[in-house]
């Protein structure tokens, strides 16, 4: 069943702050096999002009996707998450995420479309730091595949 169009434009309240830890960044960098010292060595990050170690560009998705869960699991929206695949992902960075950041995410439903029985949901997550400065915006497209007939 097509999702309710009246959800387009809906913004959810900002999430509680997520505190970015050096060791979490290290763990993520190791998991993607990336040995760039900017992720683990504050001195190396400092030589690039960063006040602490920075996170790989896709690290923030863990935070924005968790925030998008509020949308995805909104019972009023009625998305069948068991049929959801990730369609597109895009980020626009004002600055890299870094250790010590306390980040909040504000999620907005940008679009809802129905295409060949698939429900397509575009969610924008605006990420701000503790000072209220913009860090990154994440656009996530989720596709709930049509259920098989019969």
């Amino acid at each position: 069943m097509a999702l309710d169009q009246s959800f387009v434009g809906r913004t959810y309240p900002p999430t509680a702050p997520y505190e970015v830890g050096r060791e979490k960044i290290r763990e993520f960098a190791e998991a993607i096999g990336d040995a760039n010292p900017a992720y683990t060595d504050p001195g190396a990050a400092g030589r690039l002009g960063h006040p602490d170690v920075i996170a790989p560009p896709t690290f923030v998705f863990a935070i924005t996707f968790k925030a998008a869960g509020e949308v995805v699991e909104d019972p009023q929206l009625g998305l069948d998450y068991s049929r959801v695949v990730h369609g597109d992902q895009r980020f626009a960075y004002t600055r890299p995420v870094r250790a010590g950041d306390r980040l909040t995410v504000t999620s907005t439903i940008e679009a809802i479309k129905s295409l060949a029985g698939n429900d397509i949901l575009d969610i924008r997550g605006e990420v701000h730091d503790e000072a209220g400065e913009h860090v990154v915006t994440a656009w996530t497209k989720l596709v709930a595949r049509a259920a098989e007939e019969g």
Binding site: G33, D34, A38
Partner: protein
């Protein structure tokens, strides 16, 4: 920012070094833990087949992270990436055969955008199939 290259020195068509990234089940389990994405399609073959997939597949975000490395290694400072987006066109299927899968990533400077920004277009292929589409990063050079 401390990119390795000056904007003036980088031309449209400049190719970034091609990289290959192996993906095994162990890699996926580790990524699941680090990213917090524990969807069983990324580690449970029975579950993956039940929802119509050929086998366990890699997290799209894992593939996106590997593709980004071609850009961040080239430019030196990962903080120089100002935009990055991909479309997930095909899953990376990761069999439990002791070898897993390989993702091959290439990149090319596609446009000079002014303001020291260049757009890099990436290609990512696994098992002969394009796994990312519209894969683009905008990077600030020195």
């Amino acid at each position: 920012m401390a990119a390795k290259f000056a904007y003036e020195d980088v031309e449209v068509g400049t190719e970034l070094p091609v990289r290959t990234f192996p993906v095994t089940r162990a890699v996926l389990v580790r990524y699941a833990g680090a990213s917090g994405d524990f969807n069983p399609i990324h580690w449970n073959e029975r579950f993956a087949r039940e929802v119509g997939l050929p086998d366990v597949i890699a997290h799209g975000m894992f593939t996106m992270a590997e593709a980004a490395r071609v850009v961040t290694d080239w430019v030196g400072d990962p903080g120089a990436v100002v935009e990055y987006g991909v479309r997930f066109t095909k899953p990376v299927v990761v069999p439990d055969d002791g070898e897993g899968a390989v993702i091959e990533v290439g990149g090319k400077v596609a446009a000079r955008l002014g303001g020291n920004l260049v757009r890099v277009d990436l290609t990512a292929v696994s098992a002969g199939q394009k796994v990312l589409g519209m894969s683009r990063a905008v990077v600030r050079l020195a």
